[in-house]
């Protein structure tokens, strides 16, 4: 009793960081442990609801054919059909599609981060005539929807016999103004003194860039890379337009093929969907610290 009272009035109440929630709307105060329990419960509830589709995807993926297609779908598989993994790989060349997606997303990400970092350095640190005008043009294209460039890009790639080839897939999506913009913002925040000290020690501009700027900006570069990789792994429109065989088809397009050839065999379709999603989720969990920090650092989060 007394300890509850002490907690409610004492320094422990500081644990509930957001005062708006330490009291109920009517002004009635909850003791912190009760408030915290209510909060945790709400968090559990929201998380459970938002994860339901993902959990269902995995559960149905392991159901038997009859189970997943019965008129009354059951949710928990009565038996875990792990052989569905192999069956999904047999029905369409899913392994090939995954490899293709790694090429496509990896290739665009690599090219984008390298070229954007170089250009961002020039925009952030080097003086040259026309710098602000050129940067303005870069910025203006940020607002152009990808669909505007879709048709000319496709015609360009088709004329260069690039349809269904890796250069045709990767190059048009490997240079965006967004990457240059994000990295420039970050480079501007790195104190000039660091670089000047290196220059005084005899480093040329290239060395100052690779030995000073890039190591300091690694979190931002990694953030850009993660954003880009997730975005391109997800990209459906461009591969749909420019790839027309298994040689370059990515999983996003491949899943569509899967649906066409297999109708609604839900367990295998959702198994293929699960297999397609897993690498992205693993990557995301490994990198989400950077991701969140990058958003905070790039100034997107606040003032």
């Amino acid at each position: 009793m007394t300890s509850d009272l002490a907690r409610a009035t004492g320094p422990a109440s500081a644990h509930v960081a957001h005062p708006a929630w330490s009291a109920l709307p009517g002004g009635a105060r909850l003791s912190p442990p009760a408030a915290r329990r209510l909060l945790l419960f709400a968090c559990f509830l929201v998380t459970a609801v938002s994860l339901t589709p993902i959990v269902m995807m995995v559960l149905v993926a392991f159901q038997s054919d009859t189970e997943s297609m019965s008129a009354r779908p059951s949710f928990w598989p009565s038996h875990w059909h792990t052989e569905n993994i192999g069956r999904a790989f047999d029905l369409v060349p899913l392994g090939r599609y995954l490899l293709n997606t790694v090429f496509f997303a990896g290739g665009t990400t690599l090219l984008e981060t390298v070229t954007a970092a170089l250009a961002a350095y020039a925009f952030a640190r080097l003086r040259f005539r026309g710098r602000s005008a050129l940067f303005g043009i870069y910025l203006a294209t940020l607002m152009v929807p990808t669909q505007v460039t879709l048709i000319p890009q496709f015609i360009l790639v088709a004329k260069a016999h690039g349809v269904d080839t890796w250069p045709g897939m990767i190059l048009p999506h490997a240079f965006t103004a967004l990457g240059v913009f994000l990295l420039r913002q970050f480079f501007l925040g790195i104190p000039r003194d660091y670089e000047e000290a290196a220059r005084l020690d005899g480093a040329n501009r290239w060395q100052a860039f690779t030995r000073v700027i890039v190591p300091l900006a690694l979190p931002a570069i990694a953030t850009l890379a993660v954003f880009k990789f997730i975005g391109q792994w997800n990209n459906l429109l461009w591969p749909l337009v420019v790839s027309n065989s298994d040689a370059t088809r990515t999983v996003a397009v491949g899943l569509q093929v899967f649906q066409d050839t297999n109708g609604t065999q839900w367990n295998l379709l959702l198994m293929a969907a699960t297999i397609t999603t897993v690498p992205l989720i693993v990557l995301f969990f490994l990198t989400q610290r950077w991701f969140v920090r990058g958003i905070t650092m790039s100034g997107l989060g606040g003032r």
């Binding site: 509930v16 005062p19 929630w21 938002s50 779908p73 070229t115 050129l134 839900w266």
Partner: protein
Amino acid sequence: MALEAHSAARGAIPRTAKPPPHPGRWQRWKRSEAFAAWLFLLPSLVGFLVFTAGPVLAAAVISLLDWNLFSPPSFAGLGNFARLGSDPTFWTALGNTAYFTFVSVPLTLLVSLGTALLLNHGLRRMAIFRSLLLLPYATITVAVAFVWIWLYIPHDGLVNSVLGLVGIHGPAWLVSEGWAMPALILMSVWKSFGFGMVIFLAGLAAIPQQLYEAARVDGATPWQSFRKVTLPLLSPSVFFTVVTSVIGSFQVFDQALIMTDGGPGARTTTLVMYIYQTGFENYDQGYAAAQSLVLFAFVAVITGLQFLAQRRLVHYDV
């Protein structure tokens, strides 16, 4: 003579190599900051010109052509734009896209803000919840679109089963004229709220705690401190989220293609889907380019309006 030949030979070398007005200028240019800058810019600039700036200009040219990719193009003037006026599918697609945007953006904003406020408590376990709530954002749209088809199965799908528990007879979601678009919107909000949540969490973390303490000392209710402290200081994050999600929803394509293929009728045909059909199913490149430019104009106008509103509603200083 020998002297002449000698001097001519000496002069020949710089003359063929385009001599600089005075010696050493090329050497100095090579060592200059501007030269280094252009070298650093070169890879990005070439890619940018060929694959972004060039195509934007090309889109304007192509929109004036009649071109099916296979036979030589012919000049159509503004004919493609004139066609838009009498094309009911285009206006339906535009209306559908506007419907999608004006419902999904506020909803996403509310869910993002709600979850961010819920997680903003400095409790240790919150990092786990944050990661889990970001999962929908990290999944591949095409894959989860299939899950949502399954969830929306009319009679015994999960969504209608849950509704049945509270006595509601759910609609045949994706094949229902009135409910197909709300179904797409619900899925899209689920898919994308995590991104806004992270932005808001970063914004909330930047608000000084003393402001809340001051508000409490002044006797502010939680609602008042939310209205007067949290919202104004969070407005830059709100602005960023609104601008990016409006641009994103004007481009909605993946989930509509997979879940409804634009149907029933043309109830969920979005602008991008119509551009895709025109350009790559009917091979009418000029008309598709004209449509994409109109889409661009809409995005530009709406983004411009948001920047105007920003001056009055967004506070960048404490």
